[in-house]
Point group: C2
Chain length 326, copies 2
């Protein structure tokens, strides 16, 4: 089964059809970046309506078994995720409420310090806050995967240590291969792997550098990452942003926290939306990724693990056993 650990596309029927075209079994979608509780609930309502209108192509999954069931009847399972913990509005009790509403993945911070911890762009990282420790515990209990992709190093290390369950970096690369604040130092990735976590390797241009050149260079990035953390802890996290426009990018980068231009993983010299990767314009290229891994020398079992098996193992360990599906 093919699994994409993180996408931030503006989904519609056409993008769902691309998921089917790539034979995707499961994708984590981004329901919000900076949204507060009410805005996040409004996003969940919109997601439910969108999924109902396209129930022949996709369904929301709330357990690993549901992912497999949805896949078995020829559809793509969606895991509902947030790239921030702002939906909590500082309430520990809301972890459980949003889990009941179907949310299964949450990044502790987006691009700035919040009440849970520091982001990868903050000059000072004081670590996982006291509230953050509570949030990690509650996410463990509720079956919500902890995502550290945009999270600062110290906060991430403390979250990995504090978590009773494996955690994820759904979309980032090793900083030792592509130096960038969004990428992860080796010691963090080793701690993640020791805990049983998974890193979703991304071909997103701003954080994959020269490895973004082709499916084969991307396969090389995967191979070197597997050398660092073990092939059992590497997955795909495309960070694909189909139909994302500049206004979306501005919202991601600036939210409401600043009036000044921010560039996220880009820079003043490179401020715009990155052009699509010619070898990965959309998820229909997932089979080509698997082929590139095979060309690079991955055996059949390892290709299957990287392309989806590792994520599925992670979901079986982290997501609840009990469905909260309608």
């Amino acid at each position: 089964m093919f699994v994409d650990g993180l996408e931030c596309s503006n989904f519609d029927r056409e993008v769902f059809e691309e998921l089917r075209g790539g034979d995707l079994g499961c994708v984590t979608v981004t329901c919000g970046f900076w949204e507060d509780t009410i805005e996040s609930m409004d996003s969940l309502v919109a997601w439910r309506d969108l999924v109902r209108a396209n129930a022949d192509l996709v369904a929301v999954a709330t357990t690993a078994d549901e992912i497999e069931g949805i896949r078995a009847d020829g559809r793509t399972a969606l895991l509902l995720g947030f790239q921030n913990s702002s939906f909590l509005s500082g309430r520990i009790g809301y972890v459980e409420l949003f889990a009941d509403l179907g949310v299964r993945v949450a990044q502790l911070t987006y691009n700035i310090q919040n009440d849970v911890g520091a982001s990868c762009y903050d000059p000072v990282d004081g670590g996982l806050t006291r509230f953050g420790r509570e949030v990690v515990e509650e996410m463990n209990r509720a079956g919500m995967a902890v995502d550290l992709s945009h999270v600062g190093e110290r906060t991430s290390l403390e979250a990995i240590e504090h978590s009773a369950k494996p955690v994820a970096v759904t979309h980032a690369n090793p900083a030792s291969l592509v130096p960038h604040p969004r990428n992860k130092p080796d010691r963090l990735l080793r701690a993640l792997a020791e805990k049983g976590g998974v890193l979703g390797v991304s071909g997103y241009r701003n954080i994959s550098g020269e490895y973004a050149a082709s499916a084969d260079t991307w396969a090389e990035l995967v191979a070197r990452t597997a050398d660092l953390v073990g092939v059992g802890h590497v997955g795909v996290g495309s960070d694909l942003g189909r139909k994302v426009v500049y206004a979306d990018l501005q919202w991601m980068r600036q939210g409401r926290w600043t009036r000044t231009a921010q560039y996220g993983a880009g820079s003043a010299a490179n401020p715009g939306k990155q052009p699509p990767l010619p070898w990965f314009p959309d998820t229909r290229s997932f089979p080509a990724l698997a082929e590139a891994l095979a060309r690079r020398g991955f055996g059949t079992a390892d290709v299957a693990a990287v392309m989806g098996g590792n994520w599925m193992r992670f979901y079986h360990e982290v997501l609840p056993n009990r469905s909260t599906k309608e």
Copy 2:
């Protein structure tokens, strides 16, 4: 099984113990009167914490089967209810979200006109609004019981007609027996019964008048109500407010909508909290209610129907089959 269709007590362990003392199988509790979405979610969090801390006595039920299971292991099932639709904040999609969070009963309005319809105290009742029609449909779909207790007559009649499922008046009496704006005209009660609904007869002093004198006069009220609507459509809705203090009463009556004194079902001449009924100080008196019904001439099957069976039939028809319990 004994069922109380509506209480507004400030529950704590002592009040839960009273439920067990009365052998209550199920009680609908009041999670809010005027609260908006966030405040209502905060109330649900507080309810979850309270129930977890008293899990030996009570549990939240989300289906009729769960009520019976909780009852079977010697605890009291709680249905989470709101006495207003303010938790929706005008969003149709939130009916489903709050149903997923376990809410099973909602009154369309409390004591003033809102975006759904008019209350029983409003001088003009323009009927169920366009949004109100959507809300009733969505509540039908989500398995949330429609409660019309404080709702205006025209709005109620239109809700009964529009609803695809039976609806409830969880706590009120026939106005032909006790004239009061909070009580219900015969034509409304007949429409309710024709739809398969249930009226919870209340001993609350302000709306039961002379029938509040004793368990036997209350039984007389039940008998006359059964004559009007049929014994299959009468239940108990005590409206009990254990540990409710004057500040709570002010919140119920004035909310945030007025700075002037309001008296709810009371009056300027009778503004205070009503003293407890000597024959019904708390739910430990439920067995005494059953005995009074038997003295009044109700047969065993009818006593069982009024004391809980009718509510259970209603819950089996209206609540979802699928649990949303943790």
